[in-house]
């Protein structure tokens, strides 16, 4: 059981990435698909991800580092055989991040349109590439070993292509629902209507593609099909179907905040279904138990993750409550409270003398003493030197000050 625990964290991470980062990718797709005249739609899609996209992206890092710590052999096999789609996915991430940063510095125009096109295309490339990689793993095309599988036919296989396309479609559908909810919060009725129609359209399409993917899996990845249709598999499938249908119903009823969660459930259930269907194998001939690192590593990792989550969970809750509460929406802020003017404390030269003493003591201790304690004390003195001297030095003398700096501008 202990050896499966990191896998559960990994699956949670994959689900969080597919949902949260997926919605950000989907927003990029909407930017690409909207016509030139629909500038408000594109701007809305872009602003919605502003404060959160970095945090959403980090789930991917979380998944990878857990994989290589807990199941190193599996990660080595996956990364070497699937180097092409993983590399393409990363290129997409770089292009999207860059395009996003650039876009905020450009007013609308021809250049802005070109940047938005890069943003949109990379938002398709990354979910497709990662989805195709998942399809290759699910269909058993990644054998154990250093680049033991085929570099191209592994992921450009029926399952790879089907899951790749499905990933793009789910991202697109998640984004529609999320952007409708965001538009409702901002109170823009026209945008709400626009994304409501888009949510229904993309929801139906994603549902149809999901059914199509099931057919492909039936033909191409029989063990997964068998897993999905026996044991707990059908439960996951029906949870996903219920989530999808409920999303559509909630969107029709204009209850977008609730629709967010239904849509997330539909995606998370697919990932759970995949895990159930493939269990207990991670790769062909390699079970989770066999792939797991030693006991001490797994224990250390679980402790690390639990402690990390204790810090992370409230921080994430804060970020999402501020974002979803509308605190970061565009528009004028509440304004900053006035800060009282206070006379600045004069810098004493005594302080600089103490700092100089620390520098001297630190140098002597670090360089001349050949003991750990000497070096530790020395480094502490050097840190003290920098800390003590920083504040007075970091405050620039200004022409109007007592010190009177008449440095002329050249």
């Amino acid at each position: 059981m202990l050896n499966e625990l990191p896998l559960i964290f990994i699956l949670i991470g994959i689900a969080a990435y597919a949902i949260l980062a997926g919605a950000d990718f989907g927003a990029g797709i909407w930017i690409l698909l909207s016509r030139r005249a629909e500038q408000p739609i594109r701007d809305h899609a872009r602003h919605a991800m502003g404060p959160v996209w970095e945090a959403n992206h980090v789930w991917l890092i979380f998944v990878i580092v857990l994989c290589w710590t807990a199941y190193p052999t599996a990660l080595a096999s996956i990364a070497s055989t699937l180097s092409v789609p993983l590399f393409l996915g990363v290129i997409g991430i770089v292009l999207r991040g860059t395009a996003y940063s650039l876009r905020s510095q450009v007013d609308s125009g021809a250049l802005a349109t070109r940047i938005e096109r890069v943003l949109g295309l990379s938002s398709i490339l990354t979910p497709f590439a990662f989805g195709a990689a998942a399809g290759a793993i699910a269909s058993g095309r990644v054998p154990v070993g250093n680049a033991a599988g085929h570099s191209f036919s592994s992921w450009l296989s029926p399952s790879g292509l089907a899951i790749g396309v499905l990933s793009v479609a789910t991202s697109w559908y998640l984004a529609s629902v999320y952007l409708a909810a965001d538009a409702q919060r901002v109170g823009d009725a026209a945008l709400v209507q626009a994304f409501r129609a888009r949510a229904v359209l993309s929801g139906v399409l994603a549902g149809a593609l999901a059914l199509g993917a099931l057919v492909v899996v039936h033909q191409d990845a029989r063990p997964i099909w068998d897993g999905l249709t026996s044991g707990w598999g059908p439960l996951a499938l029906s949870a996903s179907a219920v989530g999808g249908v409920a999303t559509l119903a909630l969107v029709r009823a204009a209850r977008y905040e609730a629709a967010r969660f239904a849509a997330a459930l539909a995606v998370a259930a697919v990932i759970a279904g995949w895990a159930i269907a493939q269990s207990p194998d991670l790769l062909p001939g390699l079970t989770v138990e066999q792939a797991a690192a030693g006991h001490a590593t797994i224990v250390a990792l679980v402790i690390g993750v639990v402690v990390g989550l204790v810090v992370l969970a409230p921080s994430l809750a804060l970020l999402f409550s501020l974002t979803l509460g509308g605190r970061f929406d565009p528009g004028p802020g509440a304004g900053h409270a006035g800060v009282r003017e206070r006379p600045s404390a004069s810098t004493s030269s005594a302080r600089l003398w103490v700092a100089g003493g620390c520098l001297l003591a630190g140098t002597v201790l670090t360089v001349l003493l050949d003991s750990t304690l000497g070096v530790a004390l020395g480094i502490a003195c050097l840190l003290a030197f920098m800390t003590i001297a920083f504040a007075p030095l970091a405050t620039a003398p200004q022409p109007g000050d007592d010190a009177g700096d008449p440095t002329p501008v050249p």
């Binding site: 945090a55 890092i61 990364a79 290129i91 900053h336």
Partner: protein, 451 residues
């Protein structure tokens, strides 16, 4: 007997493009590392400016913090994507390194993942929270960014220290067993000097690059209240750190001398074990000795062992196949030390003028030097990492696993190399352009008129 025969017959997968894989990894690290410097050092400077605003009520400092926070977010976003490339590359390029030892060092990256997460969350809150949070809450929301920047790089450096000085496991049948990940990462005597040296380097690079920008403003004749205040903060950090870095560097070299004598021999081009070894400045290593260099008798023994007559191990203690490329390591080391010395001299000049005359230097030459100091400090940083990492070769895990054993068997490394080179070039241009745009945003009314 069968086992031995089988082992001898088994052909290692050959990677034709090993050197390209190494260069690709080095390129990716070189692109990422200045962003790490900003992650470590810049938040504390931004927070200092904001704290000055809360302390004095001078809107100028609010303006500085606010403008810098946009730069911080841009560089963080770029760091996110370049860091993602690195985390993928480790598995894609070096699968057998991750496969064999992921259970030992992976914990470091897992912990780094969390601090990265924390940084990403609070940087969003901080940058979007101007005017939307109370001033005090806003300042507090910045503290986790500074903390996570420092913590995250500690974890990554712990992995690097482990690669240089591995421990906390045994090898059986090519796999790591009896793994003690905490001890491997944090009980490592090689960790502490690497951390301190890197943090100070981060303050040097960030401090000199940011103050270099305002030196450029001075030289262009734009040096009003805002530029002065904004110059003083990074320059104070860099000027205080530069002399300290020399002392810390000396400590780092002594640890290397003790724990990686072959690397030290490569740094110094010491072909043969020598009693009372000399130190050579400049020159070129050839056939077991440094030629055309300036020799200082006994100096190496004195520096490395605190005894002019001490014996220093030469490259001859290991067979040639276990030696790193000598001249690359040696030239990188000399470049780092040379630049570090120049930076410390510049810092000493600045500190002298500030303390004696209580004003900023007026010489245009000082500002020209400051402008050059930014890029130079970055060169020194990269050279330092070349010393550590090329000096570690031919091992990926020092003395345990060779780089040739770790590399992927997949094809297409040159394609990936070329693609990423183009992508990085585009990324660099994009960042430069965004930063330039940010610098051209006019100052807010309030701080422009406050005098």
């Amino acid at each position: 007997v069968d086992d031995v025969a089988g082992g001898a017959i088994r052909v290692m997968p050959v990677q034709e493009y090993l050197n390209q894989a190494r260069q690709l990894q080095a390129l990716s690290l070189t692109v990422h590392i200045p962003l790490v410097c900003f992650g470590i050092a810049f938040p504390s400077m931004v927070l200092f400016a904001e704290w000055r605003w809360l302390r004095t009520g001078d809107p100028l400092y609010r303006e500085i913090a606010r403008r810098w926070s946009k730069v911080m977010l841009t560089l963080f976003a770029v760091g996110v994507v370049t860091g993602t490339i690195l985390s993928f590359e480790l598995g894609i390029l070096w699968p057998d390194f991750v496969g064999s030892f992921g259970s030992v060092f992976g914990l470091g990256f897992a912990l780094e993942g969390f601090s990265f997460f924390l940084e990403a969350i609070f940087i969003g809150i901080y940058v979007y929270g101007w005017e939307r949070l109370s001033p005090r809450a806003h300042l507090l929301s910045g503290l986790p960014i500074a903390l996570a920047g420092v913590l995250g790089s500690t974890f990554v450096i712990a992995v690097n220290a482990w690669m240089n000085h591995p421990g906390g496991f045994h090898v059986r049948n090519g796999k790591a067993v009896d793994v003690h990940p905490w001890a491997a990462l944090f009980g490592n005597s090689f960790l502490w000097h690497e951390i301190v040296h890197m943090y100070l380097a981060a303050y040097l690079v960030c401090g000199f690059l940011v103050s270099g920008w305002y030196a450029f403003c001075f030289l262009r004749g734009r040096f009003a209240r805002y530029e002065r205040a904004a110059l003083a903060i990074p320059l104070a950090a860099a000027a205080l750190v530069a002399p300290v870095q020399i002392v810390v560097g000396d400590w780092a070299a002594r640890v290397v001398a003790e724990q990686q004598p072959v690397k030290l021999a490569a740094i110094e081009g010491l072909g043969h074990t020598t009693k009372g070894a000399p130190e050579h400045l400049l020159g070129w290593y050839e056939k077991g000795e440094v030629r055309y260099g300036i020799a200082i008798p006994d100096m190496l023994s004195l520096l490395a062992k605190h005894d002019p007559n001490a014996t220093v191990a030469g490259l001859n203690v290991v067979p040639p196949r276990d030696r790193p490329p000598i001249n690359v390591v040696r030239i990188a080391f000399q470049t780092m030390v040379g630049i570090g010395t120049l930076l410390a001299a510049l810092a000493a000049f600045y500190l002298f003028v500030r303390v004696r005359t209580r004003r900023l230097p007026r010489s245009r030459w000082f500002y020209r030097a400051l402008l050059a100091a930014g890029p130079l400090s970055f060169v020194a940083l990269v050279c330092g990492w070349i010393v550590t990492e090329v000096g570690r070769q031919p091992w990926i895990v020092y003395g345990v696993m060779r780089t040739t054993q770790a590399v992927t068997s997949a094809h297409g490394i040159p394609v990936g190399y070329a693609t990423l080179a183009v992508v990085y070039l585009g990324l660099a241009l994009a960042v430069a352009w965004v930063l330039l745009r940010l610098s051209r945003t006019p100052l807010s009314e309030e701080s422009a008129h406050a005098q």
